[in-house]
Subunit: 331 residues, 2 copies
Amino acid sequence: MGLSDYLKHAARRVDEYIYSFVTGTPKELYEASLHLIRAGGKRVRPALALLSSRLVGGSEEDALPAAAALELIHVFTLIHDDIMDRDDYRRGVPTVHRVWGEPMAITAGDLLFAKAFESASRLLERGIEPGRVVEAMRVLAKAASTVAEGQALDMMFEERWDVTVDEYMDMIYRKTGALIEASARVGGLSGGASSEEVEALGEYGWRVGVAFQIRDDILGIYGSGEKLGKPVYSDLREGKKTLLIIYAMQHLDDEGREFLKRVVGNPNASQEEYRRAAELIREAGALDHAMERAKKLVDEAKKSLSRVDARDEEAKEILVELADFIVRREY
Amino acid sequence: MGLSDYLKHAARRVDEYIYSFVTGTPKELYEASLHLIRAGGKRVRPALALLSSRLVGGSEEDALPAAAALELIHVFTLIHDDIMDRDDYRRGVPTVHRVWGEPMAITAGDLLFAKAFESASRLLERGIEPGRVVEAMRVLAKAASTVAEGQALDMMFEERWDVTVDEYMDMIYRKTGALIEASARVGGLSGGASSEEVEALGEYGWRVGVAFQIRDDILGIYGSGEKLGKPVYSDLREGKKTLLIIYAMQHLDDEGREFLKRVVGNPNASQEEYRRAAELIREAGALDHAMERAKKLVDEAKKSLSRVDARDEEAKEILVELADFIVRREY
């Protein structure tokens, strides 16, 4: 099975589990909570957890409650991020707060967060030893704390023009890398990995995760709005301090810098000004630089992966393909 | 030691643990997260967890990570509720979103939620057996899901005038009872309780919790703003459908009902109109009815407690005193 088919397979398994598990009253709350899950998404995190379990000799079955937990945490952060960023569209549909209002959206996110830990505790019923279940839940909790830190940093960076590349890399590790790292770790823990193997999987995960975010930042400026399910140039409008902006600010002349400062984060700038900003950023070499960084991370991720003695060759091949996919994806 | 001294003792222990555990960067996020914890609060939930552990023969030490987790979940819900209710003051200080803005407040709540599960996983380091730790974490997660459901119901009730007493009782079980039930359960689990004892402690907990919420609703209309650290009549202004309002709507004549409909939930009503509404609600017998219900719940809670074979008489006495305190507290 190739990556594309595997992602579909993982999505089917995990979605089925989530829909049977995340039910209750009031109906409005559960509808709001499941809205973005129903809207699609790639299910990269659960796929990574299922594959990591198989890689070390476990089954997908073993890791399913953890895989679902990862998607639930991911979607919870999306719901809250959309409120904070005042985003209107995600995965091609109106965001949760646009449909149900902010109070219900905040609560819907909180519900998914709680359900994630309920789900992870069910690893016990799959016969995973209790010590490993606690460790998996701790990894999830630590990742969620780290994501909150990353989200706070991201917001604080929006008001600054002097963010350094190091600060940026630290921020995206926290905001995106940590949860993808956790995906590989809890998959490994569920599947019976040794502690060295859990570490190697964690390294693979955060490197892939950080590369994923860099690619996301590239798509946030140069991607197709249609494929992404959200408006083009949204990152420019919101003034996100991405690697591309930071690099461009360091490599443009005064005139270019002034132009970016005027346009990036200015919701009243014209579409033509955003287009010109995107062009300037590319001319500064920022797009090439970002792609090189992402590719280097993916190469290192594959090296980390090779430290795990693969008990399932297909799982290993898909994990390698997943790493490669990260840097060439268009959505 | 009496209840009042015990609450101070529990607060000191739990706060010390929380302040050493909830640290990190960015500083702004951690400051926002700890703001309401620093502002005070009774620490009823952690006290209940510590006492429940002692009651069944465990130590306070054993239950400390779980006790801290309960306060962290509680404060996380307060931060998010204040955003949703647009409340400006809590525990006598400006609410988190008033000081740091909504996006940072949402994230601060999310951080505390994650830290709660990190904390609970540390029960392992106190020598609690892993199966019990998973069970405690599951109880916490289930309670947090239930609180989200209760919060959603509470919001939905604000727009309805036909909420029944049964619907109300179900809502406050979820919004308040479930987390206090969880406090007693995880304390028992940490302290080595049998499953029957965990059940009995859970019953004690939710009954005390529901009584606590009824008393809260009484104080929300008849309490002193100064003692509560928030404006008087705030529940009337927000249109909360409390037991008192529901009862009054069922027992007033048409004129009284029309007056309540006009004033309750109307932010433009005058202080004099709120005062008159409070008087009408009392005249309808709602205050007496609510107090009777709360007292009955507290009596039943004490019966549940007596099903646990007390290994620590002082802990038992304080738990009984805590139940009694619930219905006479003024803050």
